[in-house]
Symmetry: C2
Subunit: 213 residues, 2 copies
Amino acid sequence: MDEKVSAKPDQAAIASPRRSPSQQRSRERVERMLAAASALIAEQGSDAMRMGEVAERAGVSIGSLYQFFPDKRAIVWALAERYTAESQACISAALKDVGDAEGFKSAFSELVDIYYQLFLAEPVIRDVWSGTQADKALRALELADSRANAEFLVAVLKRLRPDADPVQLETTAFLVWQMGEAAVRLAISVDREEGDRLVAAYKAMALRELVGG
Amino acid sequence: MDEKVSAKPDQAAIASPRRSPSQQRSRERVERMLAAASALIAEQGSDAMRMGEVAERAGVSIGSLYQFFPDKRAIVWALAERYTAESQACISAALKDVGDAEGFKSAFSELVDIYYQLFLAEPVIRDVWSGTQADKALRALELADSRANAEFLVAVLKRLRPDADPVQLETTAFLVWQMGEAAVRLAISVDREEGDRLVAAYKAMALRELVGG
DNA sequence: TGCAAATGTGAGGAACACTCATGTTTTCAA
DNA sequence: TTGAAAACATGAGTGTTCCTCACATTTGCA
């Protein structure tokens, strides 16, 4: 009897488009909405982004926005999903042709640098991932992404170290990858000089862990 | 002319009590407010925490709440500040009497375990720190805390490895500490078995980095 | 051509953080 | 003791925001 009647929206639920745009017209409009959201996030951060402003800048009504995104978080989620897709393709390509430990070291080092530069230069990406601890859907996306990327590492490492324990390898790769994200986030929140030192230290630590001294 | 008249509140500003409670009566009330907030966060998370509910549960009016806390984030910040104070005391004590590398290893390992258990058991702590990427004041507090804790590590390491480069030591300690936080956060968001593996892997990596294989 | 499905609209409902005018209690100097 | 200033307490009200919904328009297609 005391139960609340109006169930609160499940924060854990994956925020998926309320309705998939099936016509050309609406697909273009959805693109405009995402572009507008991205621009506003770059300017003020996703917290300060107002749904009305997104609609106005995209040249659509507020109702249209909610036609395709169930709520505000879903927009951020959609942007995040794009970034994961892009970055996975990039990472996969960078690691695909690695043949020996030296090749791995330079490929890994380059990947970390790219990631670091990306976070330094792109406020939208920084911001989109900043809700990762508080928003369960985002957190799940990030973890899935991290696992996928760790798999790329594992695939290479299995070639380089065929005798290593696979479970151990998996654990290490996942951990090292997550720490890379943490290291980069840390690096961009301190001054540039210290940030560079931290990223370098991370690289050394990660490589020692993955392919030995 | 186009400038907005109502300046938005500066998100970066440290949320400090609007007015310090100077009388015994109000100090007790502030305690009740924090206790109520803590309980509500444990139940539903800080996002779902309603200011009206905090006031009601603390047995004060909504106005009294705002007498001592400038906004909602300030309450979470105040709780976070307490945790940092407690944990710094705990960490300092655990590392103070370390004499050799073996002693350091076991003390460090124990600290990580305590931290892991704490995050597993205390939803409030988990939640309070979850806003750390999005909220600048919280982020600053966390970084300051991390630096302070890294200093404890550095102090010990300087005794154990007097010949090491101080700057390098500082960088490594700071990085390793932050990664510990990331590792624990990661560990509690996967199933228990994998979490344990990840924490163990982190310990091994950190110790290798700090005092060598 | 006409109908159903998809899409588009924006005024308005509801929830929430926070303010402020006003009243009450405590402190403390004279 | 007293009186006034400072600290504290109150909660109805303000403003902002997210999101809904009843209704209008456009598109795909038999």
